[in-house]
């Protein structure tokens, strides 16, 4: 035997558990997932290479024969497969298109890999594939390659979908945390928490499902308009697992800046607000699938807001905060009385299998 158990113990993101195993929270977008990814998976994937990769971003930007290609992947395990405002198919297209868009890329091509469980109804599969194709057509991306696997009944959960995506990054753009500067303004394109709360409402059998729909939507159109801001567009991040809070905490840490948010300016619908009270959840940490934050130079903040208002059907694009001059890596939320509290990454997760 090797000394593996010992080395594992050192890397283990779950202290005090022996032997260490995967827990639901490792997929939740919080601190445990970050430890697994940044403390374990990324170092493994860099072992033996001479590559020091930067902090993980939504997609990798690669230069192939002088052409800048964005490349990303996402698996979708959402439960239930159909939910108010969408389904796993729409989610699988939007999720990967949005990851490409966050690096400023124009999404071009997607792959689609299905893991089907024996006994899964073909009628449901047809609805989901139709939904993928309709969403892809509306965005203008093509699903060009795929794979189909079947696992025996009891060893899957109906359907898991992986989509990987390839996009084109125009030269001159460097949309990443590294471009964030003190004084930058932070904007959001709509109200937060819809996707997570819509899914949790279905699971918990809450009554207002009908009115409360996921915000699941492609963001590539909006991003195409925002890239017209050129070098004043510093960073984009879609607000998926972990919600607005996790996204801004990650950006603050990666950019080594402080962020100050004005709580009253963060748009939250009354339904999401009520559901969160009922379920004991915080909308700032709830998943979104059609929301992004844009961090821009102060000089173009109004212009960015106007673009968001033009491009967004949802209510409430808003200027929600700014980047401060300190390098605290803190995200501070100021309430209406000017009192601040620091946002922290949750250790585990609020909501399992949200995407």
């Amino acid at each position: 035997m090797t000394d593996r158990p010992e080395s594992i113990r050192l890397n283990c993101p779950v202290p005090h558990q022996d032997p260490p195993v995967i827990q639901m929270a490792h997929g939740g977008g919080g601190r445990m997932m970050r430890k697994l990814v940044e403390g374990f998976l990324l170092p493994e994937f860099q072992r033996g290479t001479n590559v020091e990769s930067g902090p993980p971003h939504d997609s990798a930007v690669l230069e192939i024969e002088g052409v800048r290609i964005a490349f990303t992947t996402d698996s979708f395990v959402v439960n239930p497969l159909f939910f108010p405002g969408g389904d796993i198919g729409k989610l699988a297209v939007c999720g990967t298109v949005n990851d490409l868009a966050m690096s400023g890329a124009v999404p071009l091509y997607l792959s689609c890999a299905l893991i089907l469980e024996e006994g899964f109804p073909l009628e449901s599969l047809q609805r989901i594939i139709e939904s993928m194709q309709q969403t892809a057509n509306a965005i203008g991306v093509r699903i060009v390659t795929g794979d189909t696997k079947v696992v025996d009944h009891g060893n899957g959960d109906g359907l898991f979908i992986n989509t990987a995506g390839v996009g084109l990054v125009k030269s001159g753009l460097d949309i990443s945390p590294a471009s964030v500067r003190a004084g930058d303004r932070i904007l959001i394109n709509g109200d937060v928490g819809r996707h997570g709360i819509a899914i949790m409402s279905v699971r918990e059998g809450l009554g207002f499902e009908g009115a409360l729909e996921s915000d699941c939507a492609p963001l590539s159109g909006l991003v195409a308009e925002l890239t017209a801001l050129g070098a004043d567009l510093h960073c984009l991040r879609d607000l998926t697992r972990g919600g607005l809070a996790a996204a801004l905490i990650e950006i603050a840490e990666q950019a080594e800046v402080g962020i100050r948010l004005d709580e009253s300016s963060i748009p939250i619908s009354s339904q999401v607000g009520s559901a969160c009270e009922l379920l004991g959840l915080d909308p700032l940490y709830a998943a979104n699938e059609g929301r992004l934050v844009a961090i821009v130079s102060e000089s173009v903040a109004d212009q960015a807001l106007a673009i968001m208002q033009q491009q967004t059907e949802a209510p409430g694009p808003a200027l929600i905060g700014r980047v401060t001059g300190d390098d605290s890596c803190d995200v501070e939320l100021l309430n209406a009385f000017g009192t601040g509290r620091l946002l922290d990454l949750p250790s585990g997760q609020q909501m399992p299998r949200i995407c």
Copy 2:
């Protein structure tokens, strides 16, 4: 309600079953999987586009700003996760690298998306990730983007891995069934059936596991040498689910040619032969993960064989047959007495969850 149940019935790859559901054979590489993919999934993915895609090949070849990019995806659900000669991690890297190589691409970048089941041992995850990284380093590809999802205990099977891949296709190459011509020679780079039979032997508890190892290996190095044959290299296909038989039947149908094989020239190890007799399996239909057929002009057949012999550690690169002048789409196997039998795609599958 819509008329969906009726339209489904028409598309249904499983007649006489109502409501139609996914069966294990839909993932087996045989006729049922082809009906699902070609009769149902591909038409859906072309709906609303003006694209008529050709027959499905191992990867899509895309032109982005004048650069030819190969793009492919594969999910891996192999059971068991560790097997003689490899593990799911090595398989996930080789499988996608090989799909890229089959279009003549130089594999460059991979994604890695993990679907982990709650309770999965981190020690096993570490071994698998190490295996992925070692394999990737040996090939010279980089794993540059990833995703991690966790599903609750009982709704996964330990670990599923998706890898998507991006490669560069040199201009001038058109390696596809469309390039196959009458008189072409068919070569194989080693003995068939090792991967499938190694996995089945473990599952069935047969004794010779130790000696019988999967052929799981990257084929990109061999393909790089073969592309030196230029336009005389007509088609490449790796022999995964469905084995040598399924691969050649597909090529014959896509190229609209006949294929004649010399049975005695097809290399089969004695262990694979014995195991197949014991298990009632046909080695020509057993999965491989490090074998390809190359279809080349007659004039370069000897040169291609010499390249294979130089590049391959495994015994038995061989010239196994030729493309005939008829357009029967038949694959005929001639035995030592000159008697022929036609190979047919199995309706279901010999081996579930082989990759």
